[in-house]
């Protein structure tokens, strides 16, 4: 969580300094939820993170360099400059690389799980995160229904951060809680207050466990607030103060730190030391990547097919 937060703060700084091409999208306020999912998954599971899952990515084993390299467009990154920011992954290691179209990754995870079943693997879980806004897409619906019909070990975490870009919940859906959708798919649904790390670990952990045990798809709907703009270009002036000051608006990281201290598991000094250490790690990663080469157009194959000899090349 802390690493994700500090890494993203650094990326936001780089963005403001004009050092990043394209957008920067923060998971600020969503770290407890995302990390809980990443931690509950095991090696061999499938995870398709979305835009606000820096914490979950790290928890599931993403190297911090992968993030920095993708944002800075390093040739050495997993996407080699072809893709940026949150559009990264290493599918071979179970980390699918998202396409931008909301909802599209859910059915891909379903297919991954179908494949594992064909291959006779058991005890595998596939997880993905989406936002409240994504719940309006046809892709979301088709995939969840497919997962339910196939009784796949899918965990879908819906981070209801109250807004889809600028659009509030009441223009996005009309049910009381998105978890009500689970009933209509015939799958198990859970809710969690995602400002509380403990609750996230518990609820998300149990959902993953249930999926692993063969109880079919699990939907976790988390309540929280996006503590940043949609991207760093957005000042999010549309978020009402009252909401920011409500329990939903709490910062899961601060809440977690308080809990640690309350329970006597860490002192303020410990926290400060962790922060320093983590910051160091982030700074080093950025410094490393900043020395790395940019992609070179001359080295590109400019071929989208793996079967290069079937490429439709042009002579003219």
């Amino acid at each position: 969580m802390l690493l994700a937060r500090l890494l993203e703060e650094k990326l936001a700084n780089l963005y403001r300094a004009g050092k990043i091409n394209g957008g920067v999208f923060l998971g600020k306020g969503q770290e407890a939820l995302s990390a809980s999912l990443g931690m509950a998954l095991k090696k061999g599971d499938i995870f398709a993170p979305l835009i606000r899952d820096q914490a979950g990515r790290l928890a599931f084993g993403e190297d911090i360099l992968d993030a920095v390299r993708t944002y800075l467009g390093s040739k050495l990154g997993p996407m080699r400059g072809r893709e940026g920011n949150v559009h990264r992954g290493l599918p071979r290691e179970g980390r699918y690389a998202m396409i931008s179209h909301l909802g599209a990754m859910i059915s891909a995870v379903c297919g991954g799980l179908m494949a594992r079943r064909f291959q006779g693997q058991t005890g595998v879980v596939g997880a993905t995160c989406v936002g409240d806004g994504c719940s309006s897409t046809g892709a979301f619906h088709e995939a969840l229904n497919l997962a339910a019909v196939e009784k796949l070990p899918l965990v879908l975490v819906v981070a209801n951060n109250q807004f889809a870009y600028s659009t509030p919940n009441d223009r996005e859906f009309a049910c009381k809680n998105l978890v009500d959708r689970a009933i209509g798919y015939g799958i198990e649904g859970h809710t969690v207050d995602a400002t509380e790390l403990d609750a996230c670990l518990d609820v998300v952990g149990r959902a993953v466990e249930r999926a692993r045990e063969g109880r079919g798809p699990q939907m976790v709907v988390a309540t929280l607030l996006r503590l940043a703009g949609h991207g760093e270009h957005d000042d999010a002036a549309y978020i009402p103060e009252a909401l920011k000051n409500s329990p939903t608006g709490r910062d899961c990281l601060k809440v977690a730190e308080c809990t640690l201290m309350e329970r006597g598991w860490a002192s303020a000094a410990d926290l400060e030391a962790w922060r320093e250490e983590t910051l160091q790690q982030v700074e080093e990663a950025v410094a490393t990547v900043q020395r790395e080469p940019a992609p070179d157009p001359a080295e590109e194959t400019w071929c989208a097919l793996s079967t290069q000899e079937l490429d439709d090349t042009f002579r003219a």
Binding site: R82, H87, C110
Partner: protein
């Protein structure tokens, strides 16, 4: 005798038998054997590997992408090519980009029962190959013969990239061959379906047969028309087309799809760019009319190119 449709079924049976990574997913493909019976008996012959999907084209293709990531080689049957539109996003933005983005291969075959038949109307008749061909990362096959339906489908499943297999519904039952082929041209090679010296018709899928019939008609008048069957429209075998135009000096490109863009535009544009000096007269195109595909056979017969309209276009071309 084996039909084009049976060849498709046989190819799938062989793919399932040969490679445990292959499975079939689509609406009504299991016990029922598919709307056209292209998967007849496969579910019982290969238990658990031929699965009915919900009516969810987006999720059908999306799931195939995920399965491909994990090493499977899915065959997705879309009930009619026209119904691939709800799955369009997953095809063009997910399947087609996967390898380029992640270096993980995406060996999916999407079967698209394509093209018009009498009475099938605007939404059960479309030829979408030219639409998909605009996207990088896809391979688009358009078999015109029973032999190609068989061998190219097997090849499609073996190719490590997403393949749209545009099988023509009009040919399903109409076309018969003596047996399954033992050898075949590779994907990417066009075929000279008929040799000629006076003009070249470039066609694909059902239009190859209209072109052959037209060529036959003109042969009675002493003209020898060469017919090139593209077999795959992406990749497009420009070399074979140019070689033919070099022999004949005259080009007519025929397609069943709509007139704006598409295969005939690409063929003519390539020949104009790369074989300009081979052309004795301006190249011509013949496409369907620029409206949705009409239901009534009267209208449909006028909407699509047919042997008589191909022959007329050829006469015009030969008169130039």
């Amino acid at each position: 005798m084996i039909t084009y449709l049976e060849a498709i079924r046989e190819a799938q049976a062989k793919a399932l038998a040969d490679d445990p990574r292959v499975y079939i997913y689509g609406q009504d493909v299991a016990e029922f054997g598919g709307a056209f019976k292209a998967t007849k008996n496969l579910a019982s012959a290969f238990p658990g590997r031929v699965l009915n999907s919900p009516i969810s084209e987006d999720a059908m293709v999306g799931s195939a992408v995920g399965a491909a990531i994990e090493g499977m080689r899915p065959i997705v049957e879309i009930q009619y090519a026209d119904f691939s539109t709800p799955g369009f996003n997953q095809i063009v933005n997910h399947a087609a980009t996967l390898y380029w983005r992640t270096q993980v291969k995406c060996p999916i075959t999407i079967r698209l029962p394509s093209g018009g038949t009498a009475g099938s109307g605007p939404f059960h008749s479309q030829s979408m190959e030219g639409v998909y061909a605009q996207y990088p990362g896809l391979i688009i096959l358009t078999p015109a013969t029973v032999e190609d339906a068989y061998s190219m489908l097997l090849e499609a499943v073996a190719i490590d990239d997403p393949v749209l297999f545009c099988e023509h519904k009009y040919l399903y039952y109409h076309l018969k061959a003596e047996g399954l082929p033992t050898e075949a041209l590779p994907v990417g090679k066009a075929r000279i379906a008929r040799q000629g010296r006076d003009a070249t018709v470039v066609a694909y899928s059902a239009m190859v047969h209209e072109a052959l019939a037209a060529a036959e008609e003109l042969s009675a008048d002493g003209y020898e028309v060469e017919v090139v069957d593209l077999r795959s429209i992406k990749p497009l075998d420009t070399d074979t087309i140019l070689a033919s135009v070099a022999r004949t000096g005259r080009l007519l490109a025929v397609g069943e799809a709509w007139p704006w863009g598409g295969v005939t535009a690409e063929v003519v544009a390539r020949v104009a760019s790369e074989g300009f000096e081979l052309l004795d007269v301006p190249p011509r195109r013949l496409n369907a009319k620029n409206t949705p595909i009409p239901f009534h056979p009267n209208l449909w017969g006028t909407h699509r190119p047919t042997a008589p309209t191909v022959a007329r276009a050829l006469r015009d071309l030969l008169r130039l």
